[in-house]
Amino acid sequence: MLSREQIAQRIALEVKDGYCVNLGIGIPTLVANYIPKNMYVMLQSENGLLGMGPFPKESDIDADLINAGKQTITTTPGASFFSSADSFAMIRGGHIDLTVLGAMQVDQEGNIANWMIPGKMVKGMGGAMDLVAGAKRVVVAMQHMDKSGVSKLMKKCDLPFTGLKCVHRIVSDLGVIDIGDNEFILREFAPGHTAEEVKKATGGNMRIADDVKEMKVN
């Protein structure tokens, strides 16, 4: 099984030179650490920044400069600030090349559930519903199974949806999985596992791609 860092490392391969990318909270945030330095990639933070840099040095902390996780950050050369309406024009209008977010469940139709569990305190969807509705490509970083071994890749999500038919690819701790025509397609399996094992660990229908291969991670 892949570590959180290895999932992030694999997702970084989805990022292309020139992309504008929105990374969600959790594993998606770690993806930034693995984007090659020679690539020109602009990270978008939906609170109003395109061109997000690393955390600041103590002396550079600025209360007026935070990311969507409310953490202090910096900017990169070429950065811009804008209002929330402009930010979501970018997102909803299809100007963001890739969004990476976490999920509680994804199903074989590409539906995603990641914002609420009925009966538990619901904190809100933040920008997630807009991101899955509007980004050109939606990649989900998630654990393949829950703690009791039940697959989070399902035939149909049973938690409330965040968006319908919007997920393109999942990178889990067990593999790289695309959403096909009402089925999961296994593209890569994690080192130390087989394609059959990943299929067995998946709740929905899974087809193993003819050219399935072992994932390359450090």
């Binding site: 690393p54 040095k57 007026d64 953490q71 997630a128 949806f161």
Partner: protein, 231 residues
Amino acid sequence: MANSKVYPNAMKALEDVKDNMTLLVGGFGLCGIPETSIQALKEIGAKNLTIVSNNCGIDDFGLGILLKNKQIKKMMSSYVGENAEFAKQLLSGELEVELIPQGTLAERLRAGGAGIPAFFTPTGVGTEVADGKEIRQFEGRDYVLEKAIKGDVAIVRAWKGDKFGNLIFRKTARNFNPMIATAGKITVAEVEELVEVGTLDPDQIHTPGVFIQRIFQAKQEKRIEFKTISQ
């Protein structure tokens, strides 16, 4: 003439806030919130407020202090996770909440200020957010009808403002402030630095003064929610 918009402090600028009003409040997390105005609202004590703001502060800062003081009847926000008091009042039924996707919230406020009563968005189609709302197809895709939001009083925080109400925001403290500034019957701007008309470069104005009815200068604490540093 321009001086008629200038108020000495938050208490004076907000003295018309009454029970049961709808207030629009700028900011994202604790960044760019009109913190002095929020303190003043606590002093004024108006109750049963509906507050439209992306978040609800933390327990002892920002909108959290109005929550603690039981002045809020309903919150309309995209994310309310940083606040223990929020969960308590929600579970006990004292507080109502309408959770709105962040982009939809921004656009509903923009629409409210721009004379657009409603609009169709793809965000939330097929989710609980779209329950009971009109769905219409355009070019083969489903969209949900969302309505504009307007407020009795809108309160924003800017970096610099002049006496006509022209505003410049700073970095990510801009966030929801420009839309909120347009959507209030009365809009109050709290600025870090109030300058004479003619001082600000017209090319750099983010919010033109026409949207602002009252302005005052106030020192900001600018509390940081999560201080993260690189080694």
